[in-house]
Every structure is written in C-alpha cells, then in structure tokens.
C-alpha cells in the first residue's frame, strides 16, 4: 500500500513538473513588464503560513534581487520574525532594506516595517480559512536624494505610505487561495522628482505622489517530493491597482497619472529545500506577464529572484 502511494506521488509529481515547465516557458517568453516587487502586497502571503506548527518562533532572512525599469537593479534584503502564540494566532514583524543602482547612482536605505497578525480558523472538511490584518510603516518619506538631486520612486526604498492590509486565505488540500487588500491610510510621501528636471524620460514625475489601493488574488499549488526534502509552490498572482495615482505638477496642480491603474499578473515559482526539521532554504523566481500601462510607483520588475533562509525554534 505504502509503495503504491509512493508511486502515485512520484507520477503526480512528474505530471506537475511537466506542467510547471510549460508555465515557465510561457512566462519566459513574455518580454519586459511589471513584476511583483512590492515588499507589501506581494509578500504578505507569508503571514498566512500555516505549515510549521511545531515551533513557537520563526525567523526568516532573505535577499531579493530584481531588474527594474530602465537600467535599475535591486538588492532588497529583509528580516522577519513570527511568534506563534497558539494553534490559532500568530504575529509577524518584518523589516525591509533596499539598494537600487542605475543611471542616477546607488541609493540604499531601510524601507518599511510590517506588523501582521494572522488568525487560523478551525479546519473543516480539509478546508482551512485564515484571516490577516496588518500595517506597513515607512522608514522614509520616499524623498531620498543623491547629491541633492531628487530621485524617481524606482530608487526609493519605501513608497512613504502607512498601509493597512486585510486578507484571507483558504487552504484546501494542496491549494492555497489568498485574497488581500493593501490600503494606503496615511500618505507621508514627499517625493520631489520631476521628469522635466530629471535628465531622462525613463521615469514619470512623482512629486508629492499619492497612491491608490491594491487588491490581490493568488492561487498556489504545493507539491512535495517523495522524500519531502523539496517543496515546489508554483503560484499565479493577480494585482489590481484600484485607481489612478496622482502627483503635483510643476505648476502646483494635482494631476492624475493616466494608465497607472489596472491589472498586473505575475507568475512565481517557489522552491524550498528542508535542511532539517528546524531550518530550510527557499528560492523564489518571479516574472510578470500582464502589466499596467504606466507604473510610477517604482515597483516594476522584469525579473525577481529571492533567496531565503528560515529557522524555527
């Protein structure tokens, strides 16, 4: 019986691997577009994590490498700590950092602090719901400069907004479905970049930028190798930007940024390797294939690769 299950798992894994390879080929042929780089809404599914319930504490250290608009390249490390109070409730805190390099130079700074609470409801008929509530606090007003020159949002380590996260997750067998909202509640953005004075047409003006909310839907399928050392989590992520962002133009008038609203679809493959019961490493590769026409928030990536180390105790 055991060997039959093992054989079934093997075959199932082979079929899924082929499907995954096909998805990756499709994604790889999609050219440049907006990626899932937002340290906020793209990564909050971590707050839903329900896999590891044997340990009370969980630390994660990661470095994310990304290619952005124009010639901008990113290295964005973060540290997160999750405290599990009981089987139902956990709390995650996270601090991000970002280094952006391109024609404007190199700018590094802390980005945001996240505080996220997660509540898991009782499992019923193999379905488990959980709910998430969190806040994001910026470390900067998104007005970092180099040599006194204002920088586009693409070079800023934070969007300069205090955001509220509301989300829910449904876990059913090997599937996870997330839905979430990221709502900018307080706008502290004091960015002062003007395209007119920037010396390049690569980035739109974002002086005193005001941002609209995002809605997220994500579907993730998890599969483990028979020895349970490797876990693969291909997922598809839909983000809808719920309105046009705006900025104050050089004539002191607020102007909507046309085309800054709309849909982004990302493909993401997470590969996790379990080193021991307490620790694992994870490689995450993401690329987008549907984007908004204009992306002034500097969250655009053509490709993202993340490397994470997780330790539980």
């Amino acid at each position: 019986m055991k060997s039959k299950i093992h054989e079934y798992q093997k075959n199932n894994f082979k079929v899924m691997s082929k499907k995954l390879a096909l998805i990756l080929v499709v994604f790889a042929n999609q050219g440049f577009s907006q990626g899932c780089s937002d340290a906020g809404i793209c990564s909050i599914n971590k707050g839903f994590t329900t896999e590891e319930k044997n340990f009370k504490n969980h630390i994660e250290i990661a470095a994310i490498f990304g290619a952005g608009e124009s010639d901008v390249r990113y290295v964005s490390p973060y540290v997160s700590y999750t405290k599990r109070f009981n089987d139902r409730f956990s709390f995650t805190s996270k601090v991000t950092f970002s280094t952006a390099t391109g024609s404007f130079g190199t700018r590094s700074q802390f980005g945001d602090a996240f505080l996220i609470g997660n509540y898991s409801f009782k499992e019923k008929s193999k379905k488990q719901w959980s709910a998430l509530l969190g806040w994001k606090f910026p470390f900067t007003a998104s007005n970092l400069k180099i040599n006194g020159y204002s920088l586009p949002l693409d070079y800023q380590s934070s969007l300069g907004t205090v955001d509220l996260f509301l989300g829910t997750n449904l876990n059913y067998k090997n599937w996870d479905f997330n839905a979430a909202l990221q709502i900018p509640v307080f706008n502290l953005n004091k960015n002062s970049y003007f395209k007119e004075y920037g010396g390049t047409d690569d980035f739109p003006s974002t002086n005193l930028f005001e941002r609209k909310s995002d809605a997220l839907l994500r579907a993730t399928y998890s599969m483990k190798t028979p020895n349970k050392k490797f876990t693969f989590k291909p997922n598809v992520l839909f983000i809808y930007h719920l309105g046009e962002d705006s900025y104050e133009n050089i004539f002191s008038q607020r102007e909507n940024i046309k085309g800054s609203d709309g849909l982004t679809i990302n493909g993401n493959l997470i590969t996790s390797y379990s080193i021991s019961k307490q620790s694992s490493i994870e490689l995450s590769l993401a690329t987008p294939f549907v984007v908004r026409d204009v992306r002034p928030d500097g969250l655009t990536r053509s490709f993202v690769a993340g490397l994470q180390y997780q330790y539980s105790f």
Binding site: T99, T106, A141, N147, G148, G198
Partner: protein, 139 residues
C-alpha cells in the same frame, strides 16, 4: 544564532549608502546667462522667521526664454529646498523650478506668462516651510 543577530544591524549600516551616477554627477544642468540676456525683473531676498538669507533673484530674457538667476545668494540649510516662481508671497500658486542646488540659474518653462508672477520663493517642500521671499520689481 546570536552572532547572526549582531551581524544584521552592522550589515545594514554598511549597506546604507549613496553613490552618484551619470544623472546625479555635479555639476549637471548648468545653464549660463549669456551676455546678451536682458534683465527684466529683480528682487532682494527677505528671510522668514529664524532663517538667514542674502542675495537677489533676477529674471533675464534670452530670446523667448526666461531664466531666474540667484545672485550672490546664500540661505540657511534646509532638507528639501525648492525654487518657486510664485504669484504671491506664499506658496499657493507657483511654478516649481526645481531643487535649490549649487546651480544658480533656473530656466522658466516657455508656457509660463512671466507677467503673472510677482515673487521668487525659497521653500522647503518636505516640511512645508517657507525660507525666503523676493518680491520682483520690473527693471
């Protein structure tokens, strides 16, 4: 694990830096005033409370292009100082000419009707604090 915790803030401090690139290298966008330019307006900067300022704002015309020149200018340090061509002594209706940097000449966009503007202001945008006001007088 404890060592790792100690290393993290040190690593962050080392990484926290800025380095100029081709678009932020000084000097950049230096716009000269040509000898043939005509002085159209001028005004002496007056400080607001707690600010020290010296110098004049001068508006020159070169063909159809107008430019603001800050002459013998100095002002107290501020985190996000801008040069505004304003319709009043307060920053309510203005043209943002950009960051106050080591450059002294700021081109005025061609769509601006210069006669509608009466002041040059130095304003800290990030903290919304007015630093200096120059009321323009026709030459």
């Amino acid at each position: 694990m404890k060592k790792l915790f100690k290393l993290i803030p040190i690593l962050f401090l080392i990484l926290s830096c800025q380095e100029e690139g081709e678009l932020t290298r000084t000097p950049q966008n230096i716009v000269p005033i040509t000898p043939t330019a005509i002085l159209k307006y001028y005004g002496t900067f007056e400080p607001t409370s707690g600010i020290a300022v010296a110098g004049e704002a001068k508006i020159y015309q070169e063909g159809t292009q107008y430019k603001v020149k800050l002459d013998n200018f100095s002002v107290s340090d501020g985190p996000d100082l801008k040069v505004y061509l304003s319709k009043a002594a307060t920053p309510t209706d203005f043209v943002n000419l950009g960051n106050l940097t080591s450059q002294t000449v700021y081109p005025i966009p061609s769509s601006v009707n210069i006669e509608d503007y009466s002041h040059v202001l130095i304003h800290c945008q990030q903290y919304s604090h007015l630093f200096a006001i120059a009321e323009l007088i026709q030459n």
